[in-house]
């Protein structure tokens, strides 16, 4: 019966914790206050604030908004490493309770959680992506990753000497697939005889695995590589140690990791998306819109690494530019993968 005694102890201990702590003053300001002057924005991230990819690009965007609107006008709170939807749900709900007006849940896996929470906080604006499904107070944002991917693909097709372009993917889903599909179409359009080889690490954050996969890609002939999500930085670093191979980055400009190897980037301008959501909210629209990021509205930028810009021949730049204008004018629609 010793075991029973022990379970009683644990029960008592739990009770102690309940009663003992109930007397302490609570640190949380619960009331939902709406400050007219100051906008309070919260961000929930699946990975880290400094991942040099998806997460950091959004953090940089929020900082940009803070700078342009004034530090005293925008308050930003961030919770990171909330990859599982349960903990993310707690964080989002807590931010909503604390009266944050706009809450960015920066991951496609947060859709269900938001649907659940948003009903209880009808005055709060929620936004998440990548996604399409909205609610009256939920915005969904959706970067058209395939558009920049297409342009990078054209560039890759013209710049490769070996005739092989390699992609280091994380997991075959969502944005990664969209981006990869865009690159594939761009490569095929650029030069018909250039091959695109896709391989996946099976993980969003295994940088060592991505580095090794990049080495395998290069040893099997690829000399231009690209890939998405935070694992990709491992691949960028691996390429940085070689000669004559280039990396094309997406989500943000990754040239600081390997200044002599990152040729061009697809950059998401989250500050424009954030500003738009702030404006919409001011006008009384709390949500309900599916916001795409595109080349046409400037939320996606195609950017060369200035340091390496002279390595790209003028006619290649012209080909990329022509395709870009076609996409912007709507003449060319980069296809999405169909299953």
């Amino acid at each position: 019966m010793k075991k029973n005694v022990l379970s009683v102890i644990l029960a008592v201990l739990t009770l102690l914790a309940f009663t003992g702590c109930g007397t302490k003053p609570t640190a949380e300001p619960a009331p939902q206050k709406t400050d007219v002057e100051k906008i309070r924005i919260a961000l929930v991230l699946p990975a880290t604030v400094d991942d040099m990819a998806w997460g950091q690009s959004m953090v940089d965007g929020l900082k940009e908004v803070q700078k342009s609107m004034g530090e005293d006008k925008v308050e930003v709170a961030i919770s990171e490493k909330l990859g599982n939807a349960v903990d993310a749900g707690s964080a989002i709900r807590q931010y909503a309770t604390q009266g944050y007006e706009i809450i960015f849940a920066h991951g496609s896996q947060y859709q269900s959680v938001l649907n659940d929470i948003a009903k209880d906080f009808p005055e709060t604006t929620f936004a998440y992506g990548t996604g399409f499904a909205t609610q009256p107070n939920i915005f969904a944002y959706d970067p058209q990753a395939q558009e920049g991917g297409y342009l990078l693909g054209i560039l890759a097709a013209h710049m490769t000497k070996s005739g092989v372009v390699g992609i280091i993917g994380p997991v075959e889903s969502g944005d990664a697939v969209k981006y990869n599909y865009g690159v594939q179409q761009g490569v095929a359009k650029g030069k018909a005889d250039v091959q695109t080889r896709i391989a996946y690490t099976g993980s969003f954050n295994d940088i060592v695995g991505a580095g090794n996969l990049a080495k395998t890609q290069m040893s099997a002939g690829a000399d231009i590589l690209t890939g998405s999500s935070q694992q990709a930085v491992g691949a960028v670093r691996a390429i940085g140690e070689t000669e004559g191979n280039y990396w094309l980055s997406t989500d943000m400009d990754q040239s600081s990791i390997a200044p002599n190897h990152v040729l061009a980037s697809q950059v998401y301008h989250w500050e424009k998306v954030v500003t738009k959501i702030i404006e919409l909210r001011k006008q009384g629209t709390l949500g309900g819109q599916h916001l795409t990021l595109t080349l046409a509205d400037g939320t996606i930028e195609f950017k060369y690494n200035e340091k390496l810009a002279d390595k790209v021949p003028a006619e290649v730049k012209a080909a990329v530019e022509a395709a870009k204008q076609e996409i912007i004018s709507g003449k060319l629609k980069v296809e999405l993968p169909k299953k």
């Binding site: 702590c21 490493k81 959680v113 996604g131 499904a133 999405l336």
Partner: protein, 367 residues
């Protein structure tokens, strides 16, 4: 009776001392992170218990922890070190989701039991593989369950991005790896509106009692524990050791599978990325805190759930890196397991305890 009360008091004091010790060491790291330990700990301990939100979030974590913990109790009691709960959770979740989404028109009274059964079966089969490998082919279960976790994760990801993906994700071109929502009439009802706590809590509590009855009041349970206590002796006594090893792992996997079902039906309403918040590991810790007893695991799950919620709240309240949460959890585990020693060696314990309390008084004086 009085000596028994003394014992209980002593055990509580030792556990509290261990917690205090862990927190004192943790405070050093908080100082390193340039945040105020008193404020940080204030949030960590008051947060989970100070309002409806904190309490319900704690219980939301406690439900899967308890279910996984019950499976761990069964397997560890039968002498199997099951590290595979994480994979078994995923197997249960995906099995439940598949059944729920393919039979949306069935009434809840039929569909809900079917969904639970499907989840338990999938989890049980996944656990059973490790049990069978151990019983028939002497494959070490630590090895096989670690490997099976990875395999389950990849199969799960394949299913939610491939055959079971929400058709809407394909038609909109977003391709997010998640299944369609399960029919709304089988969502577990919320115990308190405006929170996430669902009726899975009651289910888990009932199951804890059931597991207790099974392990201590039935002959199967007795045989299982006999196998755990000593397989050779059990064999000598005529118990079919192999059969009970497989059964124990299947039951453990079934429990973890049910944790997956409850997460799907109660919290997420679909299968998606990051479904399990590391419950496969935390569940082991909860079960061991509960002294591998089904009823002891109940308060242990609540306690550990509170630790998870409180540490997470601390991140937002005092603005420290999320990694600090893991540091404190790790320290708590290390100190609490070490504290067992003081219970078994009272003399040594008494000496150290005197020292610890001296230190604690100093620390409070400094506030």
């Amino acid at each position: 009776m009085s000596s028994n009360y003394n014992g209980v008091f002593k055990q509580i004091m030792v556990l509290i001392s261990a917690l205090v010790g862990a927190l004192l060491v943790g405070a050093l790291f908080l100082l390193l992170a340039k945040s105020d330990p008193v404020k940080a700990y204030g949030v960590m301990f008051s947060g989970p218990f100070s309002d409806k939100f904190g309490i319900t979030e704690t219980l939301v974590r406690a439900v899967p922890l308890l279910l996984v913990g019950l499976g761990i109790v069964i397997s560890f009691r039968s002498g199997i070190i099951n590290i595979g709960a994480e994979g078994q959770i995923l197997a249960g979740a995906i099995g439940a989701t598949a059944v729920a989404t393919s039979l949306p028109d069935l009434p809840a009274v039929m569909l809900l039991p079917l969904v639970f059964l499907a989840g338990a079966t999938c989890g049980g089969l996944w656990g059973g593989i490790a049990g069978w490998l151990k019983a028939r082919l002497s494959v070490n279960e630590i090895l096989s369950t670690v490997m099976l976790n990875q395999i389950a994760l990849q199969i799960y990801l394949f299913l939610i991005r491939g055959p079971l993906i929400d058709p809407k994700e394909v038609s909109y071109g977003t391709g997010v790896p998640q299944t369609a929502l399960i029919p709304e009439h089988i969502w577990l009802s919320k115990l308190i509106p405006g929170t996430r706590i669902h009726s899975g809590l009651i289910f888990a509590l009932l199951l804890a009692v059931l597991v207790y009855v099974f392990l201590w009041k039935t002959s199967s349970g007795y045989r299982m524990r006999a196998v755990g206590a000593g397989p050779e002796a059990a064999r000598y006594a005529g118990i079919r050791v192999e059969w009970y090893l497989v059964l124990a792992m299947a039951l453990a996997g079934g429990m973890a599978g049910l944790a997956g079902v409850v997460e799907v039906a109660g919290v997420h309403h679909r299968s998606l990325e990051g479904l399990s918040a590391g419950y496969g590991f935390s569940g082991i810790v909860a079960a061991l805190f509960g002294r591998l007893h089904p009823l002891g695991t109940i308060p242990a799950s609540v306690l550990f759930g509170a630790l998870l919620v409180g540490a997470d709240m601390m991140q937002r309240a005092v603005n420290i890196p999320a990694a600090m949460i893991m540091v404190i959890q790790g320290l708590v585990v290390l100190f609490v397991v070490s504290s067992d020693y003081f219970l078994q060696n009272p003399d040594f314990g008494a000496r150290i305890k005197a020292k610890l309390f001296g230190e604690k008084a100093d620390g409070e004086g400094g506030k």
